[in-house]
Amino acid sequence: MSPAGFFEADGRRLSRGGIVLLMAPFFGLILFAFFYPLLSLISISVLEPQPTVENYQRVFDNPVYARVLFRTLRIAVLVSLLSLALSFPLALVMANSRGPKAIFLAACVLLPFWSSVLVRTAAWAVLLQRNGLINQGLQAIGLTTEPLTLLYTQGAVVVAMTHVLMPFMVLPIYGALRNIPTDYSRAAAICGAGPLRTFREVTLPLAMPGVIGGFILVFLTALGFFITPALLGSPQEMMIATLISQQMRELLDWPFAAALVGVLTLFVTAMTLAFSRVFRFDRMMGGRA
């Protein structure tokens, strides 16, 4: 295509052809590397060895699997709420910092974020083991007399997942807070709003898109999280990703694993749609009502 064909006649906006061309590699990749494998995997759940819905019946009929689904959901909600509670104050301090303090805080959030999930999960295993730092500390200050079982519990999974996923919460909230012009809080102050009132009436509502964005990101990632629950969780209290992996790799029951993937995918899609329905981003951003 000639360079001219890339743009509209005004020479500034991309033409339809230009847009298609620029987007093609991305769509090619997700078609080839995401939709195709996902759909062929899910097709296994209804086509092999012969057309059937039996695998899905198993997911919902057997209370064990329903419990896994429910537990996964509960842990994801818990992790999202916990990381929201920890992230908001941090993001608020970050957004109001300048200079070395701002760089230090950003490094504290980003350095762990750039290290592997496996490393961070292993770090928690070290801390939480029977004679790990936390048990030693608890005994040293006399709170407990013998080591507690901390590792391989749901608590361990929730705490470690919160830690691992927190940057996904901090960054969108920080971005939203940082985008609020300081003049807004000045305007609120001169209107008679004290600091707390300004926060509640102006800062918080304007940060909501970031809060919701972070919440969705953490919640949806937590639903399908694998490494942390697999390493720190109890085998009796599996999450759905661990169950899928077990079905595939240990029991070699691909059709059933595929059915679980289908259920998870359906669930994530439904949640995404529901979120975008409930939270009208355009309206919150002050767009057309």
Binding site: A189, C191, G192, G287, A289
Partner: protein, 365 residues
């Protein structure tokens, strides 16, 4: 000084006493004292970095002065936080809350004051009527034009009937026509509501048209506080003289009675035209371009000059002339009086005695 005399006037007086604000090594405001009468409309005018905004922010309570006091209606509020000052303020960039409808924006200050919803919406609608935006309450700020948004900001600033209204370059984001319309709108509001207005601007014509008095600042120091006419006709120093309008600054030799142009020609200076104490010797003669007249070169008392350019601009024409020493002089004349003038022509310039002001030469303009 013009003070609102209307009986319903409910502005507050403001006293700024020896205000000082230091930012690191920079003294943004340097010993500024200013008394503003209740109901007065005062403009703070100056180039950027002159400290005018810092004075305003100190009035609002966003800046804590390093030294000095601010009294509103006699009450010391130097240390009072902004939300306790009961002041209205309009910002440069409207700063309407984007998540609130127009009526909720205007009702916001009333909500902060604990007024019930129905009541505050009624008052907010009334304030919107005052700025001629009745019926726009349910829209979102983004659906309004810039001028409309600034009117909403104005309504929000007056809805709780503050005694003082601060405006921080409120019109600089608007285009020229809208700006002139809003200037009149703000003037009207000021005379209707009788509140004290402190208006920061870098636009001198805005200051001249709107304000009862204009305070000129430069490098944190107050240069002059005067009504528009006095400021224009008798600027108190060379900075004020050059900052407001056009001014010819001619180097002269002053002997205590007569100022002699270095290029030849002289003018007797009235004692009242010596604006500041000037020692005999080198000094500066300041004349507005529209006060000079062109005569024949041989006329008695005329300063010899050569016309360099004649720039026709509709009602007025700008004549650029050069004195013998090379000093450029600008003359503005009604266009109907200049027929026959052309570049290269040798003419004489005359100036009525009251139009020639004398200043010290040793100050940076």
């Amino acid at each position: 000084m013009t003070v609102a005399t209307a009986p319903q006037a409910r502005g507050a007086s403001i006293q700024i006493e020896k205000l000082e604000k230091q930012f690191g090594a920079v003294r943004a405001v340097d010993n500024v004292s200013l008394t503003i009468a209740a109901g007065e409309f005062i403009a703070l005018l100056g180039p950027s970095g002159s400290g005018k905004s810092t004075v305003l922010m100190s009035l609002a309570g966003f800046e804590r002065p390093t030294a000095g006091r601010i009294l509103i209606d006699g009450q010391d509020c130097t240390a009072l936080p902004p939300y306790k000052r009961n002041i209205g303020m309009v910002f440069q960039n409207y700063t309407l809350f984007p998540h609130l409808s127009v009526v909720d924006n205007v009702a916001f200050p009333l909500k902060m004051r604990g007024i019930a919803k129905a009541d505050r919406h009624r008052q907010a609608e009334a304030a919107l009527e005052i700025v001629r935006l009745g019926g726009y309450g349910q829209r979102m700020p983004k659906q309004l034009s810039g001028g409309q948004q600034q009117r909403v900001a104005l309504a929000r600033a007056i809805v709780y009937r503050p005694h003082v209204l601060l405006m921080d370059e409120p019109l600089s984001a608007l285009d020229k026509n809208l700006r002139e319309e809003m200037q009149l709108e703000i003037k009207r509001l000021h005379s209707e509501l009788g509140l004290t207005v402190v208006f920061v601007t870098h636009d001198q014509s805005e200051a001249l048209t709107m304000a009862d008095r204009i305070a000129i600042l430069k490098s944190g120091k107050l240069q002059q506080v005067s009504p528009a006419r006095e400021l224009y006709e008798r600027p108190s120093n060379l900075f004020a003289a050059s900052f407001i309008g056009e001014m010819n600054m001619l180097p002269v030799e002053w002997d205590g009675k007569v100022a002699r142009l270095l290029s030849g020609g002289a003018i007797a200076i009235e004692p009242s035209s010596v604006i500041e104490p000037v020692q005999p010797g080198k000094s500066v003669l300041a004349v507005r371009p529209e006060r000079l007249w062109i005569t024949g070169p041989e006329d008695a008392g005329a300063w010899p000059a050569t016309i360099r350019d004649v720039v026709y601009a509709g009602a007025g024409t700008l004549v650029i002339a050069e004195l013998a020493g090379g000093t450029e002089v600008r003359i503005r004349l009604p266009s109907n009086t200049i027929s026959g003038l052309s570049a290269g022509q040798v003419v004489g310039l005359t100036c009525p005695p009251d139009a020639a002001l004398l200043y010290r030469a040793d100050q940076a303009a």
